[in-house]
């Protein structure tokens, strides 16, 4: 049933959203690498005034095993206020939760009891394959005319092309493939858009057969993983321009466009350069109508003793930073960069996107460092800050530590564990771990944890159609 007034979590402008109240709950994707227990959505109490602050307070097991939950998103967000097809009286209440390995998509309802999301629909892999010819669904964004879902592979054989499928806003049925003309785009991963510019951006990882059994050194050194960005006409659904970052820059993953509708730039992280194991951050921007992509941050590998390294890295004598996720605050001021290899979360002031300034850093875990959380100093942590989510007001940052089942096993062969840390952000930048917030280990019941979504929305969930000023 629709509402009489707009959903209170929808905001016309990024500035309005940055004034939103603090989240009371966080939803976290939890998966069983062994595929013996069902994957789950864990619910964490994020209300500092509550007795169960920082604890797992809800848990919804899914009916199957082996889904490998990864990313997920809301059925509706602030884009519902966009004036060309407004539907502001729908509710932000359903989590759209894809299984990256099973290609199944779940719809969970958080309304009746936000601490116990209830399964209301299952879209089988067969439906996604039959109607959109896609598999391995990944990123979810609530669009103006439907729910957009990126997918890594085709619906037939574990190869490409990957792309985007559209789900109906109301019934969640698969409407079909989004692309009208994909040009030579073959690899897929993340996507987002500049809604008021009719621009959609996609990035490249690899097809399912390139990633599901672990990172393939031959493919990596052969520079076969993705290294391009694609710019599309959002209205016509056609590929307009592709930009190659250079084939040494392997795996262009997370895309974070500026939230402000008048800005037309965004950030993308590159996991690793095969020339020196460094990671990098790039900015896409438009000059005289053409998109350009410019490198603005280089993060070097850290030398390490061979005996401290997992077999996969021993030939190199160094730890790659492995930038696997980035996130941009709603006010477009701070960019957070996860270095999953070296176990560090970096904070950059990107007020000038072409000249980022590092203003904060927190170390946790890491392939060699194994840095402990200050509240549990005796527990050497595996994994590193990976999926990073920022609250709408920009004051709190949440990080989980698993990357992707089979890749966890290569870089953290003695077990990656499971933890979720919360970091407080000082007004002018600077990061401090919250000592009272560290659900980890058995609290996650043997599962690994991936994306976090905050109740009411977060820095990577909503798009805005109205400028702040």
């Amino acid at each position: 049933m629709t509402r009489w007034t707009p959903d209170p979590t929808f905001y016309p402008t990024p500035r309005d959203a940055a004034g939103a109240p603090a989240e009371k709950l966080a939803y976290v994707a939890a998966f069983d690498r062994a595929a013996e227990q069902p994957d789950a959505i864990a619910v964490i109490d994020t209300d500092p005034g509550s007795d169960t602050y920082g604890r797992v307070v809800g848990w919804t097991d899914l009916p199957h095993t082996g889904d490998e939950l990864h990313h997920f998103g809301w059925n509706a967000c602030s884009s519902a206020l966009c004036p060309t097809a407004p539907h502001p009286h729908v509710e932000r209440r359903y989590l759209i939760v894809p299984g990256l390995r099973s290609s199944r998509i779940y719809v969970l309802d958080t309304k009746d009891d936000p601490r116990a999301p209830r399964l209301v629909k299952e879209i089988p892999a067969e439906e996604l394959a039959a109607k959109a010819d896609y598999s391995r669904p990944h990123t979810i964004h609530c669009g103006p005319d439907g729910i957009y879902v990126s997918a890594l592979g085709n619906g037939r054989d574990g190869g490409g092309p990957g792309g985007i499928a559209v789900l109906d806003h109301t019934t969640f049925d698969v409407r079909g493939q989004w692309e009208a003309d994909r040009g030579d785009q073959h690899l897929a991963y993340d996507f987002w858009w500049h809604l008021t510019r009719d621009v959609l951006v996609t990035s490249e990882w690899g097809t399912p057969d390139m990633i599901e059994n672990g990172i393939d050194p031959e493919l990596l050194l052969g520079r076969q993983y993705g290294h391009r960005l694609h710019f599309w006409d959002l209205a016509k659904r056609t590929l307009v321009q592709s930009v190659d970052l250079g084939d040494q820059y392997q795996m262009t993953l997370e895309l974070r466009p500026a939230h402000e509708p008048t800005k037309e730039y965004g950030f993308v992280g590159v996991v690793v350069s095969v020339e020196d194991l460094s990671a990098s951050i790039w900015v896409w921007h438009r000059e005289a109508g053409e998109f350009k992509v410019t490198k603005v941050i280089d993060i070097p590998a850290e030398p390490a003793a061979t005996e401290d390294l997992p077999p996969a890295l021993q030939p190199f004598g160094a730890v790659p930073p492995l930038v696997t996720d980035i996130d941009l605050s709603v006010d477009d001021k701070f960019l957070y960069v996860s270095c999953w290899g070296t176990g560090e979360l970096k904070q950059y002031d990107v007020s000038d996107p072409f000249h980022p300034v590092e203003v904060g850093s927190v170390r946790l875990g890491g392939i060699v460092g194994r840095v402990a959380h200050p509240s549990f100093p005796d527990e050497r942590l595996a994994g590193g800050p990976q999926m990073v989510e920022v609250s709408r007001d920009g004051r709190r940052v949440y990080v989980t530590n698993s990357l992707y089942g089979s890749w966890d096993d290569q870089f953290y062969p003695d077990g990656v564990g499971a933890w979720l840390a919360k970091i407080d952000v000082a007004a002018e930048g600077g990061l401090t771990l919250d000592p009272k917030f560290f659900p980890h280990g058995d609290e996650f019941r043997g599962r690994r944890v991936h994306q976090t979504r905050l109740q009411g929305g977060d820095a990577s969930s909503d798009s805005y159609c109205f400028p702040s000023a």
Binding site: T2, W4, T5, A85, P86, H87, H89, P144, P467
Partner: protein
Amino acid sequence: MSWGQLLALAGLGAFHGLNPAMGWLFAVARGMQERSRLVLLKSLPPIALGHLASVAIVASVVAATESVVAGNVVGIVGGIVLVAFGLWRLLSERHFRWAGMRLSTPQLAGWSFLMSSAHGAGLMLLPVLAAGATTAHADHAMPGTRMDGTPVAALEGLAAAGVHTLAMFAVMAALAVAVYEFVGVNILRRAWFNMDRLWAGVMVGAGALTIALSAN
């Protein structure tokens, strides 16, 4: 047309102009995006034009049909269509689907035409238009305004759509400028009443009224 009809057409025009989905909000967004009041103002005429086209088609068809069939047939059939459309709008949760915000002036008029048509804006005028048949020979009809013959009747339909759209334009322009200049779009969060539901309710009511009046 009687004064009462003109007033009703204008009133419905104001109601349509009030609905953010009919275009004033898009004009505001275009103005904000380009930081230009002029862009906002220039967006309003094509939006009104698209609305006019959508409404005029229904009005012309009704007027032309009325001139050739028995007086109450249009009212009853039209009323049934209106009730059915209104119920469908009320019960369906589907919304107008559209991706793309950078529209040229003709595209903007096209968007407005589709948006108005999808919402059944013209259909909502049915009770007023159908009343034309019954008031045509009544004493309070404006002197010299009732014309006979199908093409002439269609022209009358156009005139009705014109009056309606003028009122729609005035309300839309006033709201767009007020929100752009003074109020700010954050008002949407509190004041964006669910027009779609109210709209559908009005349609069902108007359809029922038309049937009742025509059946007399």
